[in-house]
């Protein structure tokens, strides 16, 4: 990009946090400039202050306790921090527009898409109704929404997540702003949709020569679209500069650590061949269908095939990954296999036991053989029990004496890298990564034959994610665990899985050894998934560099 003129300048911005927060400032002494015709990516982990920083440009503070206490934000010669509410309102949407992470909640569910976009025009410009409509339709086509007329009349719940985000972008662009602030706009989307939206943002930015401030936690996304990068940590700006420079040679240790935490897309070297090992779990012909609606109004029932003829086997010590986007049925499969959800048909064998057909009572006894680690580090631990009790409870239920179970729980805490003293504390005292460790310890307490991990790291920051993944591989190696690993993230799958199964719409479309699937994906959908992984080119460059200079 040329050394273009500056559109917006943030000068020594400091935003205070309330006195009871864990640090005094959400944003501390940040100076940044946003230039015409470029995408500036602000990267940071959760709690780094990146969102607060971006939102303070429009005066959108999360609560009245979060207030700017120093610095200036200059736009068109004016300090936005000193602007009156009327002045800010005139700027919002028309000169500086914003798109949000969750398009479902950012759109009003009771208004049509067309109406909402028209409203954006209405509040800023006196334009006749017909003209408004024409402009909205034009915008909807500009963001490549098919059948603009239909979308115009649709309500937010009637279109897909990707389409909603496109509609949000259309809304943000109708008044042709100079600055677009995008706050994690693709985080809630699937990889393939994310790739399309990133492409759209890039294209729109280039044709309209806008300045885009793009907030993200994902270095893959950064590598895809950034012209310049600013890295934030704990409210401070750690490093900023041109994208190529930072990605190729980060100066600050924190940036290096963040980059290193992004898992490689190149599969880890195969551990060993499991073909000779006995089968720990075999699933065949698994089917699960959900029906909804269709009771009244003569409409037909909506039928979703969450699992259709799913079959796989995991040998002892092996890790099988099930990869898929949201709605592919991968979580349903995990829950059916653990018998938390009853499958319609299908056989589930654990060792020699017909696990899928056990009676209620026998199942309770046998459940210890299949244990699960859940996705949500905040929802998966009973908030009213101490960590020690949470871990010891399983074995106690199965007849271990409380003293032995407690002793074992303490050992497990050490195994997952936590202090023994953690046993007496409650889950809310721990961070997300620590809670996932506790969840793992709880699952291991029953000494399961198969461990099911349902997106165990997807709610965590990259650096924490890397730690938990390392722990998981380490423990797997030490205890010889058999793991069924559910994930939407191909990078994560590449690092931990020996074989993978790719699911789409309830079916396994590709199934094989990780190394083989990654080297030569056979199914078009798998290839599409690979192509959509953000920062792919960057990863490949890095991998090439790594092999060139060992």
């Amino acid at each position: 990009m040329s050394g273009a003129e500056t559109v917006l300048t943030i000068e020594r911005l400091t935003v205070d946090l309330p006195p009871w927060a864990d640090r005094p400032h959400a944003v501390e002494d940040v100076t940044l400039e946003l230039r015409h015709d470029e995408i500036l990516c602000v990267v940071g982990e959760s709690g780094s202050g990146k969102s607060v920083m971006a939102r303070s440009i429009l005066g959108l503070f999360p609560s009245r306790y979060v207030r700017p206490s120093g610095g200036r934000i200059l736009y068109g010669g004016e300090d936005l921090l000193a602007a009156t509410p009327e002045q800010l309102r005139a700027l919002r949407g028309s000169r500086i527009a914003m798109i949000f992470q969750e398009p479902m909640t950012a759109l009003n569910p009771v208004l049509t898409i067309g109406r909402q976009i028209e409203e954006a025009i209405e509040v800023h410009q006196p334009v006749a109704r017909e003209e408004r409509r024409r402009r909205v339709l034009e915008m909807l086509s500009a963001v490549h929404l098919p059948e603009a007329e239909r979308i115009y009349k649709a309500y937010p719940h009637q279109i897909s997540g990707g389409q909603r985000q496109r509609a949000m972008i259309a809304m943000a662009l109708t008044l042709e702003p100079d600055v677009l602030i995008a706050d994690e706009p693709t985080t809630a989307l699937d990889v393939t949709t994310q790739a399309q939206i990133l492409g759209l943002v890039r294209e729109i930015q280039a044709t309209r020569r806008m300045a885009v401030l793009f907030i993200t936690h994902d270095f893959g996304v950064v590598a895809e679209i950034a012209d310049r990068i600013a890295v934030m940590q704990q409210g401070r700006l750690v490093e900023h500069g041109p994208a190529e420079e930072i990605l190729a040679a980060p100066r600050e240790p924190y940036t290096r650590a963040l980059l290193a935490a992004v898992p490689d897309l190149l599969p880890a070297p195969p551990r060993k061949a499991f073909a000779q090992a006995p089968v720990a779990m075999r699933v065949s012909g698994l089917e699960k269908t959900y029906r909804s609606g269709g009771l009244f109004f003569g409409e037909s029932a909506r039928v979703v095939h969450a699992a259709k003829g799913v079959a796989f086997e995991i040998r002892r010590g092996e890790t099988l990954g099930i990869v898929g986007e949201s709605g592919s049925g991968k979580s349903t499969v995990a829950r059916c296999v653990a018998r938390l959800v009853e499958p319609d048909v299908g056989e589930i064998r654990v060792g020699d036991t017909d696990f899928g057909r056990l009676s209620h009572r026998a199942l309770r006894e046998a459940r210890r053989r299949v244990q699960m680690v859940f996705q949500d580090p905040y929802g998966s631990l009973d908030p009213r029990r101490t960590v020690g009790k949470l871990i010891a409870e399983g074995p106690i239920v199965h007849g271990t004496t409380p003293a032995t179970a407690w002793q074992h729980a303490l050992e497990l805490l050490e195994l997952v890298g936590l202090d023994r003293r953690a046993a007496a504390r409650y889950p809310h005292e721990f961070s997300g990564g620590q809670r996932q460790r506790i969840g793992l310890a709880r699952a291991l307490a029953l000494d399961p034959e198969v461990l099911i991990a349902d997106e165990p790291v997807s709610a965590l920051d990259v650096s924490v994610q890397a730690q938990v993944l390392r722990l998981l591989s380490d423990i797997r190696e030490r205890l010889g665990l058999t793991v069924l690993f559910i994930t939407h993230d191909l990078r994560v799958a590449a690092q931990v899985c020996d074989s993978i199964a790719v699911m789409r719409q309830g079916e396994i479309v590709e199934y094989g050894l990780t190394a083989e699937v990654f080297a030569a994906p056979r199914h078009p959908y798998t290839r599409e998934l690979f192509a959509a992984v953000p920062g792919r080119a960057q990863s490949e460059r890095r991998a090439a560099a790594a092999t060139a200079s060992p």
Partner: protein, 275 residues
């Protein structure tokens, strides 16, 4: 626990409510010491105004109104507490079973709850007491029977939401039986909602009891606030105090309980508080 107390005591209206409530409880407990003997005893000429020989004056039969109100507090609180305890127990059990098991169990139990909810609750209480003969035990039963449905609905909702939470799935996958999951894992997590609603139900129970005894549908040998008002209403124009003083007692007690309930709600659910 300490944190909870700290949050509660920061809330001034709640502390005031608690002080009043404790005062009422103390008076109720000390009634036999303060006014020994029966509150039905005649002590002097009827219709003596308050602040004369007797603090609150006398009623139409010449009974000491202060003694009546003080003894009446015992009845009101006793019935309020016992009826609410029964209602909470019944409501929470039905709600928990319906919410946890869902499906047919849920449909059946909720239809049952709806049957109770479609009958106007006060008329239902009147019918129950009238059929069962007015006695303290029957009044408690009647009040409990008409107050459990909202509790059942609340607990069902909480259980329904908790049932799909991952920590409950984790319990299931560990092989725990249903009783253990319901009692040790889900119930403690719904306790704050139950306590708050339960505390407010005490206030309603006191009101229902007062209404019943106002209509003469309570134990005629037990003094209660509603009974005094009912007896005194014929003389409302000439002797306002006979109705007013027990009325104010009901108002103050119910208000105090409501304040405490609200305070508990804020202390137990700090996230819902407005910043």
């Amino acid at each position: 626990m300490r944190e909870l107390a700290r949050r509660f005591f920061r809330n001034r209206p709640a502390v005031a409510g608690l002080a009043i409530l404790l005062g009422v409880v103390a008076i109720a407990l000390l009634a036999p010491l303060l006014y020994p003997g029966s509150p039905f005893a005649l002590v002097g000429t009827p219709f003596q105004p308050p602040l004369g020989r007797y603090l609150f004056g006398t009623d139409q039969l010449g009974r000491d109104l202060t003694a009546e109100v003080v003894h009446g507090a015992r009845t009101s609180l006793l019935i309020g507490l016992l009826a609410t305890t029964i209602a909470v127990f019944v409501g929470a059990t039905i709600g928990a079973l319906a919410g946890y098991y869902g499906g047919r169990v849920d449909a059946l139990l909720m239809r049952l709850t709806e049957i109770f909810q479609t009958i106007p609750f006060f008329l239902f209480a009147i019918v129950l007491v009238a059929v069962l003969t007015p006695s303290i035990a029957n009044v408690i039963l009647a009040v409990a029977l008409v107050s459990w449905p909202p509790m059942a609905r609340l607990v069902r909702g909480e259980f329904l939401a908790m049932r799909t939470r991952e920590f409950v799935l984790a319990c299931v996958s560990m092989g725990m039986n249903d009783a253990r999951i319901i009692l040790l894992h889900i119930l403690p997590n719904t306790l704050s909602a139950i306590i708050v609603t339960g505390s407010l139900m005490v206030a309603t129970a006191i009101l229902i009891e007062s209404g019943l005894s106002f209509l003469g549908l309570s134990d005629p040998n037990t003094m209660s606030w509603g009974y005094i008002i009912g007896e005194g209403r014929t003389a409302l124009r000439s002797a306002w105090w006979v109705c007013t003083i027990p009325g104010v007692a009901i108002l103050v007690t119910v208000m105090a309980i409501n304040l405490v309930g609200e305070g508990l709600n804020d202390a137990l659910n700090p996230r819902l508080r407005t910043a």
